[in-house]
Symmetry: C2
Subunit: 480 residues, 2 copies
Amino acid sequence: MTVVQENKSHESVQESLQHVQALLHKQQIVESLVHKQEMPKHDLVQSLVHKQHLAELQKLLDTLHPADVAYILEALPLDQRLLVWDLVKAERDGEILLEASDAVRESLIKSMDSEELLAAAETLDTDEIADLAPDLPRDVIEELLQTLDAQNRARLQSAMSYEEDTVGGLMDYDMVSVREDVTLEVALLYLRHLGELPNQTDKLFVVDSQDHLKGVLPLKRMLTLDPGTIIRDVMVEDVVVFHPQDEGRTAAQAFERYDLVTAPVVDGNSRLIGRLAIDVVMDYVREESEAEKLGLAGLREEEDLFASVWKSVQNRWAWLAVNLITALIASRVIGLFEGSIQKLVALAALMPIVAGIGGNSGNQTTTMIVRALALGQLRASGMRKLLRKELGVAGLNGLLWGSVMGVIAYLLYKNIYLGLVITGAMTLNLMLAAVMGVLIPLAMMKLGRDPAVGSSVMITAITDSGGFFIFLGLATLFLL
Amino acid sequence: MTVVQENKSHESVQESLQHVQALLHKQQIVESLVHKQEMPKHDLVQSLVHKQHLAELQKLLDTLHPADVAYILEALPLDQRLLVWDLVKAERDGEILLEASDAVRESLIKSMDSEELLAAAETLDTDEIADLAPDLPRDVIEELLQTLDAQNRARLQSAMSYEEDTVGGLMDYDMVSVREDVTLEVALLYLRHLGELPNQTDKLFVVDSQDHLKGVLPLKRMLTLDPGTIIRDVMVEDVVVFHPQDEGRTAAQAFERYDLVTAPVVDGNSRLIGRLAIDVVMDYVREESEAEKLGLAGLREEEDLFASVWKSVQNRWAWLAVNLITALIASRVIGLFEGSIQKLVALAALMPIVAGIGGNSGNQTTTMIVRALALGQLRASGMRKLLRKELGVAGLNGLLWGSVMGVIAYLLYKNIYLGLVITGAMTLNLMLAAVMGVLIPLAMMKLGRDPAVGSSVMITAITDSGGFFIFLGLATLFLL
């Protein structure tokens, strides 16, 4: 990707990052020389060089898109990040904070006083302020509310009341609406009078005198149809609309499925109250998918790459604690069979294989089910069919890999019965994994919990303990 | 989300799915009765009822958006899916195939003969045909190429030559371009003459007589500015442009960062050759994130929920094989210490805890690093800092949870040295996990491989074998 500016390509954001890092590096050398007092006599030159780098840096930052500045801030260690942040023009603070990731935004806000925060927030729209609100100190929000006019104050308060991952939390107030009984020409004059249209605008919302949504008028139609046409005759009445309490996930799926750019948000009386736009939806999709990936590894939240050790420990310890508990349970299962292990120590070496393969297979099943559940494509009626299929897959894989392991175990320990036991144990544990891989996400769904979070730990816990129990149990029954 | 149609809400896609399933269910009952010959005398009534359900189903399908039909097809078992597919109007086949997931698309295409496929493809744009091409039989493609005019044939051939995940593979040819030396009014007349604009169009591309890109003209400006203005004076020259060989991932990041709706694609001579639009980019983002999730669980590709057992086994066996091999290596590490385990069987029960916690912690580190690498935010200079931080986090977590486990081991086995050994082993294994969690993704990156795929298996392999070795090794040294 290149950005063409007056027909000359200029640097991509990765190149800008390297540029910033190079300038910071130069500046660091200067500072460390000053610090070591190796150039005590050149103080003046020093500080000039120093200032020159910072000025160059500032100039570079001014040319960058707010999202690019946010990207660069995220990639820098805390000390350099705050230095760069100080160089950013105050009036751009707001939009850059909006673009930064949660963890980095927090570190930036912490470095600002109430006055700076207030000034930054004042450059933003009410829906954008609402996005920042959870990170702002209470007194700043109070003061902000004072400065707004009645309409915007009401909007900010209602925007802050919506959950972050609902349509209400994602929508903005940048809607342009027209009445259905006027001509396109009148609408065109109105737009020309406005002088500018909000970003992403691809359609106008058609409303009646009470702001009830009647349809939408795509800009395309305004451009291609005869200006004398009455809007009612050319507006689209088959409209995808959202309500503020709709889930963000549902809205994202609709945007994807119907290729929307913007969509109206209405209240219970189908009165137009806001607009949902593709840029916000896309950010939401990305954040959700990031959060899910982090969640799978048990990171409670997005972690600043350069967070303090202590903060990172806090972000991660809960997951380790949960896994320690499940490991401890599995350990006690093994403890039940210590007598058997003492008699046949090969069991100790082979048992992690049975447990591990069950966890892998169970997670494959769960991943499939979680995906189908997220899309709403799985219903109770399809369940039995699916369970049968997964049991078939697990049984086949179990016999296949169980037999391979059986042969290996026989070759290693010259004990044909040990080989048969591990084959049987692996098959049974894979089938246990299949059943649990289907049932656990479904059960979590029924209990109203997100099956994407936690299913994996539970599967692994069961296939670990179950695998040890099945293998050591079979061995105790048949080998000793 | 609701769809408002002439001011009456109609059903959401999930409701449509349930509706379809109910109709299929009714029809199934009828069929099974016919099959059991329990109503032999009512044959006529029978077939009427039967036909009635199918007619109702067909009517329902006709009202649905192609994406919704695809969604419903994905949610149905194969026999029902093909029955519904037969009811879909032939002229909609193409767009529905485009919307379906790879696995389901394949199952649908398999049920069609060359003639049907050709008819379906002919309803599509060249860039869309190129998307289907990998799944189409060679003879259908040959015949398709015959039917196209020279420009479209050349486009289809070049579209098929691009990798699926490059801008070339994602772009379409729906660009509307204007010359820079005409007025807005002329451009408006041109649009009115065209009569219709491609979906997602938010800007026109401004070119010279040789099709060199000069800038873009947002529709917003056409609507709000004086029609007498020369385009050159109001076009935007600071444009994000792409080249066909750019990675899809880079393009997606740019769309997200700069809130783009469409962007021009140019060749090496900055000649306009195509257009990239947000709907395709958003589908791409979703597919990438799905593929990554599936990859983490070792599913080679998106699996049709109702794929045959045999197909599913093929999709999953490779992952199980890889994990079996790493488990086998870990098993051999344990085998080295069979003598120690025989002397102190508690080691067998405790060793999975040391291994497991290392894997969990290592995966947390890797998840962070992979994310930073994907964003291009991690450079060699930041590496040492990061490694130090991760070692600190691992050391702290190791001492914390190692001590907890040490106390538990002491309480269980009344052996204080055993408690100390497990504390030490857990700390060391967590630190091993931290180092590997940073180095493995970086090494994979350097070797030109995708660090998101495979890092996790390698970490787990190392922390398993490493954990067993450290714990059993320390125990052999200090306890026996």
